[in-house]
């Protein structure tokens, strides 16, 4: 019994990382209806950027965030203003195709520059440190930090969306882009900022994934899949839904792995499909979409 509880606890913690993957995706889909196929590759790109910063400056992965987060924000803003804004319109296909192309470009550039070798960001003793909760249940310090950071970021985003000027502009633009322009909201700039915020989350997720596991240029698509599943399970009603989606996915994967190690990924997909059948709009859908 204790082993099952342990699997669920570990799954919840893994869900924090998935929620980080998903939050950035949810923001840009929510604000500008852009489905970013390159999202997973951007997470991997951020991990490689962090690797370069760490090697160049000789700093800890956590300290590298001081440089990586602003860089990725700026990168996201420029990507949106310079490329993606031109793909947005009534047709969903152009942004899908363009981000698919960006995904391929990122993968191949990373492959060209860094080779296909697996990489890892070395965070020292914290990687293996753990806290004993009970007999048979130990949680890793790093997964706990990732989960706490994910919860804190999602809380900050939720507050930011509901109480700040920019948050109101995001929501108004998401509701009705045309009328939002009549309020004086500069849509292209707001979209750029939304992508910038998304890339900050991507950068944090990329650094955490680099510390927790090996990464290589081909890792992006599978991270994208987890992000999509967490977003769809959550239902886009709130950022907390995204956290719930990530946690459900993480728990399902860990329970699957407990039954049979080969079932880990499959169990996550099955949980996703079951929720899609039972609640097609996800667990926390937007009220007006119901």
């Amino acid at each position: 019994m204790i082993e099952w509880i342990n699997s669920i606890v570990q799954g919840v913690l893994t869900g924090g990382l998935y929620a980080l993957f998903a939050a950035g995706l949810a923001i840009i889909f929510g604000v500008m209806r852009l489905v970013n196929i390159a999202h997973g590759d951007l997470i991997v790109l951020a991990a490689f950027v962090a690797m370069v910063v760490i090697e160049t400056a000789g700093v800890d992965p956590f300290v590298s965030m001081i440089a990586v987060l602003p860089f990725m924000f700026f990168f996201g803003y420029v990507l949106q203003r310079g490329v993606l804004n031109y793909t947005l319109g009534d047709d969903l296909l152009p942004p899908l195709l363009v981000t698919f192309g960006i995904s391929i470009v990122i993968q191949n550039l990373l492959l060209e520059i860094f080779s296909a070798d697996s990489q890892r960001l070395n965070a020292g003793a914290i990687e293996t440190a753990s806290i004993k909760l009970a007999e048979g249940i130990e949680i890793g310090t790093l997964p706990l930090i990732v989960f706490v950071v994910a919860v804190a970021l999602i809380a900050a985003l939720q507050i930011g969306f509901s109480r700040t000027r920019l948050g109101r502009a995001f929501r108004a633009t998401s509701d009705d882009p045309s009328t939002a322009r009549l309020m004086g909201i500069r849509q292209r700039h707001v979209f750029g900022l939304a992508m910038g915020v998304s890339m900050v989350l991507v950068a944090i997720a990329g650094i955490f994934i680099g510390i927790r596991t090996n990464f290589d240029p081909a890792l992006g698509p599978s991270r994208l899949l987890f992000a999509f599943e967490a977003v769809i399970i959550g239902g886009l009603g709130s950022m907390w839904g995204t956290l719930a989606g990530g946690v459900i996915l993480g728990v399902a994967q860990n329970i699957g792995a407990k039954i049979d190690p080969g079932w880990q990924i499959l169990a996550g997909h099955i949980a996703f499909l079951v929720i899609l059948v039972l609640r097609p709009n996800g667990l926390f859908p937007r009220t007006r979409d119901e």
């Binding site: 509701d175 045309s178 009328t179 009549l182 309020m183």
Partner: protein, 232 residues
């Protein structure tokens, strides 16, 4: 002094031309009504002024400066606000947030949340509910308040009375003099001709994208207006 001067305005939705060589003038503090049947081009005129539709002209000047091809956000910052047809409140924003976002451009002026609530007391108790949970009349009040929050010099009202009960329309029209008293110029697009003539200093009647008639309400007979409106 002329606040808005438009000469030979053509406006398009893709290949479809909605306005043909329209001339339009508005003086400071003036209220002008734009009337006409469905498809006459009234809404397109407002959308051309606010930079929301593709338009060409010899002149589309606000305070003597061209606003043609300017971004909608720039035009709001200059002091032109719009109350769109159907209110178009933001569903995920509360009533108060809808009002607050009206001031997004940060244009200075005398309007504030408190003053909007003084103008529309019914909104004060409904400030926390989603804008779309309001009655049609309250939604229109919110849409007007939202436009006022940008501290405009000119407000464009699109189909002010559409879909509202007559008693509610009366309440809405009662606040227009208070807005005008602030020195705000107004363009009122309206299908209710009587209402439009009551508030307007001048009337423009459009027909199939062209100007059919213009003048002060007192100088226009019912027959002339009907002929221009219906094209008879």
């Amino acid at each position: 002094m002329s606040l808005l001067e438009i000469r030979n305005l053509d406006a398009f939705y893709g290949d479809f031309q909605a306005l043909f060589g329209l001339d339009f003038d508005l003086d400071e503090h003036e209220t002008v009504a734009a009337i006409g049947a469905n498809g006459a081009g009234k809404t397109t005129l407002l959308r051309a002024i606010t930079g929301m539709v593709e338009a060409t002209s010899d002149a589309l000047d606000y305070r003597g400066d061209s606003i043609q091809s300017r971004e909608a956000a720039d035009i709001v910052a200059l002091g032109i606000a719009m109350v769109p047809e159907g209110r178009r409140l933001f569903p995920s924003l509360s009533v108060e947030e809808n009002l607050v976002i009206g001031g997004y451009s940060g244009r200075p002026g005398g309007w504030s949340l408190d003053r909007v609530y003084e103008l529309f007391p019914a909104l004060r108790n409904r400030r926390s509910v989603p804008g779309t949970a309001l009655s049609g009349g309250e939604q229109q009040m919110t849409a007007i308040g939202r436009a006022l929050m940008s501290n405009p010099e000119l407000i464009l009202f699109d189909e002010l009375s559409l879909g509202l009960a007559p008693v509610v329309v009366g309440e809405i029209y009662e606040v227009l003099p208070a807005i005008k008293a602030e020195g705000t110029a107004m363009v009122v697009v309206e299908q209710d001709i009587n209402r439009a003539l009551e508030v307007a200093d001048r009337v423009y009647c459009l027909q199939e994208g062209r100007l059919a008639l213009t003048g002060a309400p007192a100088s226009l007979t019912r027959d002339r207006i009907a002929a221009a409106y219906f094209g008879t």
